[in-house]
Symmetry: C2
Subunit: 304 residues, 2 copies
């Protein structure tokens, strides 16, 4: 089924203990779309770039089944750029620079043919813009959204309004605690459900992920990677794998959302094995299915 | 099958954000034995108390199928006492006092009839004493041991010698990282396997537990408790549930060790629901089995 993705496109320079990459393709909408493109195609992308956006990055997106009609190009403008350096344990990073450039004045305009999209994934952008997207889409079947500590702290009221129109919110442990001021993650997730979304997914990095609804909890394991090259985009690859699987199967049942969490974790695990989007460059259906099965094996338990 | 447990018996005073308990029964050997006693009986306990050890605590142990022949009573001596206060988020605690008393000179003496014990669980005591226990037991089928940051930092050489004679080591996340100096938990667990034990269990609190062997990894979810009254003893209750299940079934196969991890988690989850050993006071087989099934439900995933 049709999937609309809105978010950022960036040019990233990233340093980790294992190496460095310059002028790489990045941004939330990129990771989400590329991951989702392994399940459903073409993914409808709405984002903005400058006239400097490299042809090779555009080609990469096209090769990954992404429809670029909604990608605004601001001639004479510069693409959003971000530079970061990860610490030794990869759990913390310093932003070296953040140049918003054309992203600063980004107004998502949904092309008419995207106006009927069954599934919508709102990458991490200003929550007010996330709502503007939804105003241009007729009754999507499922709205999946991401956010981050920056918006929780700087635009809490806008974020609360946006949460009311999201079906699934994906955030990480510290964001869930920050948003709710509850140290217990289960209590935090349930508090977020009271804010609007019927499904809360809490990403816990090396500890896996939790999918929490009003009545159920699903605990997904993490894939036991011994070496993580570059954590950049893992959260967005998770969102893309999750929403891509749901859009492919057009099934929002609780059992299928559990599977979608594992497909999200699968794409995230591939993502961090290489720099930038390289981990998502050449996956095959067989590789994805094999890793899904490894996830099942990780938590397999026989009957009592 | 026969199970021998060696560790500490303490009288605890504990304060959490939810309340306070004074002069409560505590100590690693207590939590391990009581938890294990739900699976296999009588549990053979070797530990030391002073002449001041309250009759009600002795009665509690007897009521829980614990054989006290190996409990040394030092008349005129005082029982090990510990006082602690947990912080708001329950992840950190301050020790208010630690009076080792008779525990300071504890030398485990294994009664002759315990000399053939199929299963041995070594609670958190000096690693040199843990080895002394094993020297008094003829070829146990499985040796399960616990340790803590204190021994990792103060007696690393003794601990390394003891690790060589343990089959299963149970430790928490930060202890695994401290022992190996590896930030990645999977790498840390595999480094510990290289030190001797064939099975490493890493307890991760609210994130569940990992069981790591040379070739396999099992990721166990945490039970989603919204309120934890008192975390004291949770790790020992885990060890007791784990080793108790293995001793009951006399089955050390990989599939059964996975089940044992869930039974360990089950007993730990009951433990923290009340103060001190009260959470383990009156459990029924039905309650334990129901919670085991809830654990299965938490990670249940249909086929691809």
């Amino acid at each position: 089924m049709s999937l609309l993705v809105v978010g950022s496109i960036a040019i990233d320079s990233v340093e980790t203990p294992f190496g460095k990459v310059d002028e790489a393709l990045g941004g939330s909408a990129v990771y989400i779309s590329v991951a989702a493109g392994y399940f459903t195609a073409p993914v409808r992308l709405v984002a903005v770039v400058g006239g400097d956006f490299p042809e090779r990055h555009r080609a990469f997106l096209e090769e990954h089944n992404i429809d670029l009609e909604g990608m605004q190009v601001v001639q004479g403008g510069k693409t959003f750029r971000w530079g970061g350096r990860y610490h030794y344990d990869l759990n913390n990073r310093d932003s070296l620079y953040t140049e918003l450039n054309v992203f600063e004045t980004f107004k998502p305009v949904i092309p008419e043919k995207y106006g009927r999209s069954s599934y919508v994934c709102l990458g991490n952008i200003d929550p007010a813009l996330q709502r503007q997207v939804l105003e241009q889409v007729a009754k999507p079947r499922l709205v999946v959204g991401d956010t981050m500590n920056y918006w929780i702290e700087s635009k809490p009221d806008e974020l609360l309004k946006t949460l009311r129109v999201m079906d699934v919110i994906i955030l990480n442990e510290s964001e869930a605690r920050l948003l709710t001021q509850k140290p217990n993650l289960i209590v935090a997730a349930k508090s977020i459900i009271a804010m609007g979304p019927s499904v809360v997914i809490v990403k816990k990095g090396e500890h896996g992920a939790l999918l929490v609804t009003k009545d159920t909890i699903f605990s997904a394991p993490a894939y036991p990677l011994e070496t993580i090259f570059d954590p950049t985009g893992a959260g967005d690859a998770f969102a893309g794998g999750f929403v891509g699987w749901v859009a492919k199967t057009d099934d929002v049942s609780p059992g299928n959302l559990r599977k979608a969490v594992i497909y999200g974790s699968t794409l995230a695990s591939f993502c961090v094995e290489r720099f930038s989007v390289d981990g998502l460059r050449d996956l095959t259906y067989l590789q994805i299915r094999d890793r899904y099965r490894s996830f099942m094996e990780l938590s397999r338990l026989d009957e009592v």
